[in-house]
Amino acid sequence: MKTRHTKPLQQLGVASSSASTLANQKRRQFLRNFGGAALALGSGLPLFATTDGVAWAQAPAPAAGAAIDTPYNNLLVLIELKGANDGLNTVVPFRDPAYRSLRPRVSLEHDSLIALSEREALHPSLKPLMSMWEANELAIVQGLGYPNPNLSHFRSIEIWDTASRSEEYLDAGWLARTFAQFPAPRGFAADGAVIGSNDMGPLSGQGARTIALADTAQFLRTAKLAQAGEDRRNRALRHILGVESEIVHAANKLNTNYQFKTVFPSNNFGNQVRTAAQLVASRAGIGVIRLSLSGFDTHANQLGTHANLLRDLADGVTALKSALQELGRWDRSLVVTYAEFGRRPKENQSNGTDHGTANVHFALGGRVKGGIYGEPPRLNQLDGNGNLPFAVDFRSLYSTIISDWWGQDATKILNGRFGTLPILRA
């Protein structure tokens, strides 16, 4: 029977309350030292984790992140817009008369839109992103898709996650393949972290060391129950023990010592962003963080639901930028949205939209070259299903990440050559 650790956790509580009488700055320092130490002791982790925790907390934030030199110091944050975001009501072709004729009830009011150009305007809920647009840190890629589009959520997200062709079935996600071919340093806490979701998406399958978590502190408290080990008796057992080993490895490197000035939105997505920021603040080494925002499958009564979702997205991304700036990591972070497909241009009878094809996505970051890329939606050239033709293969976006953000050869990972998008500054 392992030792139980309820008491040290209580001590942590005591430490923080008795510290509350100290001046703010001292209190913060105290928490960093003793909170970290108590937590690490309480969690039964090896002592070096404790000293590391304190050392990280006391050291001034190094500008370029972790000490290990690796391309994965360039952080990738993926945000999956689950259910398929309606691109046409996100970046609106507001001057195209077809937009309103296809959507008499599900189009956005002209006056509410935020114009970006002669042709494109943003959904009003995305107003918080305007500061990034004005700072030239927001790239908008229109017309992302792939040939022979599949309209099933599951199949199409599988295509996006595995970067396969429409009729091709691959086992591992594109990021799992990336890490398999170009491993992150062993010293990294994990290759990838999936926050607030049970599916590993592009990190699924063999190849990547991935942790899934919803909350850092909770992860650390429970990680003590995991034990690294090996057992080759069958595949299920190997999987379980592999996950245990990844937990132990990651827990040795993560902490929640950093006190953010950034205020995170108090909703599910805001909590995910906070957790992501804590992982980065641990300076433990993580190449990819995947967040997800659910509810975009707006078949009925779309307008209100969609406005709320985009507001959550914009608020979350704004907090993420603020937190990464605090940590000095914004210039080495790339935030990218994706989804299984877009939605059909013509509205349905339920004041909603059905499954579509080509879609628009965002890339944000300190090194992003702001602007509008790809091709505007060709609303006059819909296919037999009433869906948009795509203009930019989604694998070009991945190719850009692998070769321009990480400096690796994307050919083998993507099983072919795809051009890159000029969305990054040198």
Binding site: T6, N198, A212, F219, T222, L225, R235
Partner: protein
């Protein structure tokens, strides 16, 4: 209820499968006492019996295992299938008998009243989950619960979209009724099930603008599987289901002739004025349907990687029986593949199996099951709210770093010697925080009180339970305990003399995650 086209077309098939079932049952019942000589098969060992009972039910006790030891495979499968039920043993919550709130009333309600109604339905969904968990614990037919869960995952429908929890209950009654019954009939009924019509948007599908959601999923997920139909088939099939709707006042199925498309459709290259039921019959005629369902059952009951030749053999039995699910299960549960050593302990328990199995195995009898419903939800399986129409992905996807830690924490708290109640509550709190879905105001406190009451009411004595492995009768010692509790030997056999410590060590072993 309108008689079903499929039955009308297949009266012989149905009668035959019913008759076969009855005759087999009778023959087996008569044959049981002498069958050891009637069928020269190797009798089940303790491990075989455990394997069968745990795959077909939840965490069998030593007594149940001993009762099956020595039966032939066919007898054992028959014994299990004889328990099959069409209705639950326990009474459902009283509100399941009340009509739904009519749409006309809903329209006149204020925003606050509507929100209260939503909360009421969310609360009722918890009642329903607790009721089902209770049924899983007390049922004389665990296989009925396992199959109902299987079909719930197959025809995945979520309360979060349907909203009317009463309609979720009605669908559950349907799933339960046909759990081991006729799949063809179930499919036809499911196509007009109000919760399904809402969930896949068919309730609003009209001639001018057919909604393709149901037509797509009925082929991709319910019958044929991906790759066995075209986008054109989906569009045409969607037309056949236009007007299949619900009466918003009563929540019952309603065929709206005025918005139904009676025109000619081309499905799988056949041209006719297909109606919805005929479209479903086209799906039932295709061999892919039986294969698709057999393959899915295989992954849930036999091993993660189906043997295609064996799948085809079993699927043929299924199709020839007119989709008699009991018959398919009988064949699966007595197959060599089912008992093959290489397929033992290869499946990962679902959260429901893990949580309900733990309660059942250790004879923990909480008066209130809500904390356990919540625990299962936080481990990734919230019944009546699958993540999407594809259901829970299952298998290795059940285990990632978050869910594995949640499972370890769950057993750690239950089996810890000290502060068990308090620690359990803290753990559940943590899990609730982790789920990232804070309950609406008031509910958190109410839930907290529920949890407290449940924990205080939990009459359970680990030492007493474990002492049976140290009483000189039946299975004995840590090894005897492991035989009951684990699907394969532990990585390390617990040492020492305290049976309660053996339990703590074995539930922490990774093999405890397997079935």
């Amino acid at each position: 209820m309108k008689r079903l086209a499929w039955i009308e077309e297949h009266p012989i098939g149905i009668a035959r499968s019913l008759a076969t079932g009855l005759i087999t049952a009778t023959v087996m019942a008569l044959a049981l006492p002498l069958s050891a000589s009637a069928k020269p098969t190797t009798p089940l060992t303790t491990e075989d019996a455990r394997h069968l009972l745990n795959r077909s039910g939840f965490a069998a006790s030593e007594a149940e295992i001993q009762a099956f030891k020595g039966l032939t495979r066919a007898q054992a499968a028959e014994q299990i299938l004889l328990t099959a039920r069409e209705v639950a043993v326990s009474n459902p919550p009283a509100w399941t008998k009340e009509p739904i709130l009519p749409a006309s009333k809903l329209r006149d309600m204020t925003r606050e009243e509507r929100e209260a109604e939503l909360r009421l339905n969310a609360e009722r969904a918890f009642d329903l989950r607790e009721w089902w968990f209770r049924e899983m614990l007390i049922t004389p037919s665990p296989i009925t619960e396992k199959m109902t869960l299987f079909w719930h995952n197959h025809f995945a429908t979520s309360q979060q979209k349907v909203r009317y929890t009463k309609l979720m209950y009605d669908q559950h009654v349907l799933l339960r009724k046909y759990a081991l019954g006729n799949f063809g009939v179930m499919l036809h009924q499911m196509a007009r099930d109000p919760a399904m019509l809402i969930y896949l948007d068919n309730a609003n599908s009209r001639r001018e603008q057919p909604n393709e959601n149901f037509a797509r999923e009925v082929m991709e997920l319910f019958t044929l599987g991906e790759g066995n139909y075209t986008e054109q088939d989906i569009k045409q099939m969607a037309r056949a289901f236009t007007g299949w709707s619900i009466d918003r006042e009563t929540g019952e199925f309603m065929f709206r002739r005025g918005i139904h498309d009676t025109g000619e459709k081309v499905i799988f290259g056949k041209r006719a004025n297909f109606e919805g039921d005929q479209a479903l019959d086209l799906l039932l005629k295709r061999p892919e349907t039986a294969q698709f369902i057999t393959r899915k059952l295989w992954k849930e009951w036999i091993s993660p990687v189906p043997d295609e030749a064996e799948v085809n053999r079993l699927a043929a039995i299924y199709r020839d029986s007119g989709y008699n699910t009991a018959k398919l299960m009988r064949a699966m549960l007595s197959s060599d593949a089912f008992y093959a050593p290489e397929n033992r302990a290869t499946l990962i328990k679902s959260p429901v199996e893990f949580v309900v199995g733990t309660l059942k195995q250790f004879e923990i009898e909480p008066r209130n099951l809500r904390p356990f419903v919540l625990a299962s939800a936080l481990l990734g399986q919230n019944v009546f709210s699958p993540p999407n129409v594809k259901g829970w992905p299952g298998g290795e996807a059940w285990i990632n770093s978050a869910s594995l830690l949640g499972r370890k924490q769950f057993v750690d708290r239950i089996f810890s010697a000290e502060d068990r109640m308090e620690a359990m509550m803290n753990a559940l709190d943590e899990m609730a925080v982790r789920s990232g879905t804070p309950p609406p105001p008031g509910r958190a406190a109410r839930q907290q009180r529920n949890v407290e009451r449940a924990m205080n009411a939990m009459k359970w004595d680990l030492d007493g339970w474990a002492s049976r492995f140290n009483d000189g009768k039946g299975l004995e010692g840590a090894a005897g305990l492991a035989t009951v509790v684990l699907a394969m030997p532990p990585r390390e056999m617990p040492r020492g003399n305290a049976p309660a410590d053996w339990v703590r060590a074995l539930v922490a072993d990774p093999a405890y995650q397997l079935k």
